[in-house]
């Protein structure tokens, strides 16, 4: 240790923002002092607002739905996610089959959602269906140690990068897509946007976001040990996406 570290801002300097410097405007709270300091030196006119449309204009706005699904799929598969296509009528059976194949003993899902309403225990011979009930505090231990998979709907997706848009809600809490080792997500092909920018614009996100909104591109991963990619760091080890094709358009 060379010398006790001094608090950097306590160093003497001209016009120091210590509340005793020149100008009464620097008195007051830390907040007021920081803002006054910034106001004293900011440009007199803000710069012109950046224009984003031009950069995003050429990005596949008129591609077919099938093309968009294909791009989404290639992207998210490259991030180690699994993608399955299904019909509106057939996806619950597909989910049941996937659960059986993966040995999912318990599947937690959002009760009271349209998709949750379609799940029927009799169709899941190998899996106990668990609708989320109560607050996370009530089922924390179970959630962390005993639930094998979580099932949520996706709000949409992004073709450019292969990304799911997940907006947790009262029915589908945040941890449902985070804590269980497998995350099953149901996606309507028609809700895939070309880019993140398009998703923000088309959904008027700026008018109101949920308390938590997520973009998810594959299962949890890390390359923190010698740049070696490993999956299942802290979140789900597997991400399985079931895409509901609009009849006749995807294939």
């Amino acid at each position: 240790m060379k010398q006790p570290p001094r608090s950097p801002r306590s160093l003497p300097q001209g016009g120091a923002p210590n509340g005793f410097g020149p100008g009464a405007r620097e008195a007051g709270t830390t907040r007021d002092r920081i803002l006054a300091r910034l106001r004293a030196s900011r440009p007199s006119q803000p710069l012109p607002a950046p224009v984003l449309d031009e950069h995003y204009a050429p990005r596949a706005r008129n591609e077919t739905l099938a093309g968009r699904v294909a791009r989404f799929r290639a992207g998210i598969e490259s991030f180690h996610a699994e993608v399955h296509l299904a019909s509106e009528a057939g996806w619950p059976a597909l989910l049941a089959r996937l659960c059986a194949e993966k040995g999912v003993g318990s599947l937690l899902y959002g009760a009271g959602t349209p998709a949750g309403g379609r799940l029927d225990q009799s169709a899941f011979p190998a899996t106990a269906l668990r609708p989320w009930a109560g607050c996370v505090e009530d089922l924390k231990a179970e959630l962390f140690h005993r639930i094998d998979a979580g099932f949520t709907q996706a709000l949409g997706a992004i073709a450019e990068t292969g990304t799911l848009i997940v907006w947790p809600s009262e029915a589908e809490p945040r941890t449902l897509s985070l804590v269980p080792p497998i995350h099953f997500a149901l996606l309507d092909a028609r809700s895939i946007h070309p880019t993140f920018f398009d998703a923000i614009r088309a959904g008027n996100w700026a008018d109101g976001l949920p308390t938590n909104a997520l973009l998810v591109s594959g299962p949890s991963k890390t390359a923190d040990i010698q740049q070696t990619l490993a999956y299942g760091a802290h979140g789900p080890k597997e991400l399985v996406v079931i895409v509901i094709e609009a009849e006749g358009e995807v294939r």
């Binding site: 950097p8 160093l11 996370v136 809490p173 949920p210 308390t211 997520l214 040990i225």
Partner: protein, 486 residues
């Protein structure tokens, strides 16, 4: 204004301490002569440079995205005080508590206050370089509160009692064998394995328990959106989501420069961030947090706090040229492409932020007294400026800071520590040099004298002869040789 507590008990890193010029030279010398470190960094940097290049196959798209990203950052900075107020208002409306901190001491005091109010015993941390900047772990440790890193790389460096050596890949200096030994030594009940998947699963098991039990989660912020009151977090592991979702309290800390006006401004910045940083088209998770748990929601933190930290940023803001420092989105591409960083690694610098960005941002955080040598740890090759996604003219700023460090004290009182590298002798020598070289008569006389008196040339010439042969004037001047050839 409390100074960070001294490192006391097990397993925590030394505080960022003043690194004297002599010590900095020694550390660089040591690093350059460490073949393991050289190999680790060379390999990692080559890997990251190739991955970044692969993300930008279309040069015109890259140019367009850089121009847009630079414009967004500059626009945001031009409205910074207004955007901060708008951010505060919207976060408050969303139920987030906003705090302002002038420096490390204030920030730690605020967070310690929150922790005490909740009688917190443990804090689990998502990756946050700002928390490193303020020595958060030490402040909590001194107060008897555990602050545990949960990003795999950060967890590894904390376990080793070290600091991150890279802002994105904290454990980049370590080989998997070193990490395997560390886990076997420090994690109870773990046998040696250098299988990377197995090591990650060990980390997963240890930290899951912590996520489940921690009283408070701490995170940084990549972008703060003023119009919606939203905190955005970029990550791959899911630990950021865990820290901000599972504990009852979430504290986020960020520098005041990270705010943007509109949500859509985040789209290009996020894209260029992940592609520049790790060569990923997108990170696994992009987490947008706009408030604590609502009454009808079933999970999420009951309290969310944001700490807005100045710590020297308003000093950089006050100068039009230095303000560009604040455009930074912390991708780390400048260090990945820096020939000096690649050779000495992140620890030699002795600052929280290493590499080119560290050299231009640390003088504002720590003052030039402590950092005046930093801007000279550069070849000015220009690679950092060339890859910067928001076009920060890093080489230009390095030259500016060299000038601030070397010019006569008090020439620019707005810069803390300005003139710290000033030497009257060096200043006199350069003034004399300028006089000699600006006048043909003086120059002729000087060169004539130098060639006649060359035997008197000192064999030790300050820093020059540390690694080079001495400079000696030629026996005959160029002008004499040219005259003879006519």
């Amino acid at each position: 204004m409390s100074a960070p507590a001294p490192a006391t008990s097990k397993g925590d890193a030394r505080p960022i301490a003043f690194v004297s010029a002599q010590a900095l030279r020694e550390r660089m010398h040591e690093a350059v002569n460490d073949p393991h470190l050289r190999t680790s960094f060379r390999g990692a940097m080559d890997f990251l440079m190739a991955k970044r290049a692969a993300q930008f196959p279309d040069e015109s798209e890259l140019a367009s995205l850089r121009t847009l990203s630079e414009a967004i950052r500059q626009y945001s900075l031009s409205k910074l005080p207004d955007l901060l107020e708008q951010l505060e208002a919207n976060l408050t409306r969303n139920g987030v508590q906003v705090h302002w901190a002038a420096d490390a001491g204030e920030a730690n005091a605020i967070m310690l206050g929150i922790a005490r109010r909740h009688a917190a015993k443990s804090i689990v941390k998502g990756k946050s370089m700002v928390s490193e900047e303020i020595e958060f772990n030490h402040a909590m440790q001194a107060a008897g509160i555990e602050a545990l890193e949960s990003d795999m790389g950060e967890y590894i460096v904390q376990l080793a009692g070290e600091k991150p050596s890279h802002i994105i890949m904290p454990a980049i200096h370590k080989t998997k064998e070193q990490i395997a030994r560390l886990f076997a030594d420090k994690v109870p009940g773990v046998d040696y394995t250098d299988n990377v998947d197995a090591l990650i699963q060990i980390g997963r098991q240890v930290l899951r328990e912590k996520f489940e039990q921690a009283d408070i989660g701490l995170s940084g912020v990549n972008f703060a959106v003023a119009e919606t009151g939203t905190l955005c977090l970029v990550e791959n592991e899911g630990n950021g989501r865990m820290c901000t979702t599972v504990p009852r309290v979430h504290m986020a800390i960020t520098g005041i420069e990270k705010v943007v006006e509109k949500l859509e401004h985040v789209a290009p910045l996020f894209s260029i961030l992940t592609r520049s940083a790790t060569g990923q088209a997108i990170s696994t998770y992009f987490n947008m947090i706009s408030g604590p748990r609502k009454p009808d929601e079933k999970d999420g933190p009951e309290e969310v706090h944001l700490i807005l930290l100045d710590n020297g940023r308003s000093q950089a803001y006050a100068d039009e040229q230095l303000r560009k420092t604040l455009q930074c989105i912390r991708c780390g591409a400048c260090m990945n492409h820096c020939p000096v960083y690649t050779r000495i690694g992140g620890h030699a610098y002795g600052t929280t932020y290493p590499g080119p960005i560290g050299k231009i941002v640390s003088p504002h955080m720590m003052g030039l007294e402590q950092t005046h040598l930093l801007p000279t740890v550069s070849t000015l090759c220009g690679a950092c400026g060339e890859v910067c996604p928001v076009r920060i003219p890093i080489p230009e700023l390095l030259v500016r800071l060299r000038g601030e460090a070397q010019s006569a004290p008090h020439a620019n009182p707005a810069m803390a520590g300005q003139g710290a590298g000033y030497s009257a002798l060096a200043s006199f020598a350069w003034r004399a040099w300028a006089r000699i070289y600006a006048s043909p008569g003086n120059y002729r006389l000087f060169s004539w004298l130098a060639s006649r008196l060359r035997a008197l040339t000192p064999s030790r010439q300050s820093g020059w002869t540390a690694a080079r042969t001495p400079l000696t004037p030629a026996p005959r001047r160029l002008r004499d040789m040219v005259r003879d050839r006519r």
